[in-house]
Symmetry: C2
Amino acid sequence: MGRWQPNARERLEHAALELFVERGYESTTAAEIAERAGLAKSTFFRHFTDKREVLFGGQDALNGLFADAIAGAPAGATPVEALGAALAAMAEIFVAERHAWAHRRQAVVMGNSDLRERELLKLAALTEAMADALRRRGVPDPAASLAAELGCLAFRNAYTRWADPANDRHFADVARQELDDLMAATATLTGR
Amino acid sequence: MGRWQPNARERLEHAALELFVERGYESTTAAEIAERAGLAKSTFFRHFTDKREVLFGGQDALNGLFADAIAGAPAGATPVEALGAALAAMAEIFVAERHAWAHRRQAVVMGNSDLRERELLKLAALTEAMADALRRRGVPDPAASLAAELGCLAFRNAYTRWADPANDRHFADVARQELDDLMAATATLTGR
DNA sequence: GCACGCGATGGGACCAAGTCTCATCACGTA
DNA sequence: TACGTGATGAGACTTGGTCCCATCGCGTGC
């Protein structure tokens, strides 16, 4: 077979998404993914601990980028301003070239309960990374985890909007607006 | 075997927690759980769709209780006041008699990644139930999901504190304080 | 008292996820 | 040319989870 051809991991990710779109996640076997990528089942599990994990590569990089952006925000920035800077920094990942891919992937993830579950785990890790970064900025603790939760919600909303096939705005624009909307809503929670 | 003895589901839940505490979640087989409960493996999966699910019974009841309490809050109550009422209503589930059980269960869940993942799914469902209940009260949408997220965070913090073996306060007290702390922290997010 | 139906169970075949071990292969280097 | 290294292939094995069918206890009507 195509043994020793380069980019085994990328080939697996590509074959997986392709098959998931064609037949659905549950009707696709790890062995089939490996086969389409020209590899063996054992090699698949050498690259990914999980069948699900093949759709969640680069998540650690995302967490790191987020945390770095929070750490790198101006010293006088409020927690929410730091979150805004971090969301804006995500735009370098969610560029127009990845838009079609993101949309297909998102449809697969949302269509399966196991994958949604895994996504929640990844988002929880992202939230924890944000909270840690905020604590290192000196934000005390109920506020740090609260702000992280808020940031995560803004990110989720922004990503959902951005990945919509009808969307043509830049991620940074969408994210800024979602965060603003959330902050405006905050004021209404104790009033009325 | 103990065929036809009553409360098969409860026996399975009890046997499962017992075995998980003894040998750990991963080292316990679904067949072993069934055996200790005097049942067959196939019967286990007739009562629980999942091996994990055996630790998450009553979750739907919790969601319903939460949603009902939000719906039943006074007409003039703010979203946060409705959340406070709902958290207080949880005290009828988290009573002193269940404290020891809750602590043992929590230790098992926190000790395994698959179980934490499932817990996140359950908490997401709880959050969604809260958001729906708030929307039915007329709370518009970024605010409803934001308040639900906030309520879920308060619930998580309160549950963690309450389930601590050293704790001897009532759930309602712990929950009220956690919610107050979160609301106080909200004010600091845009300031300083 | 008996036949019948219904719901819960046992038993086991079966598939796929995931683990593990060992042999194999390509490539660089001495 | 021999050797070491790292990635791969092949396949056995365990377990989660599904499915089908026979069996059992119990209630009901006759």
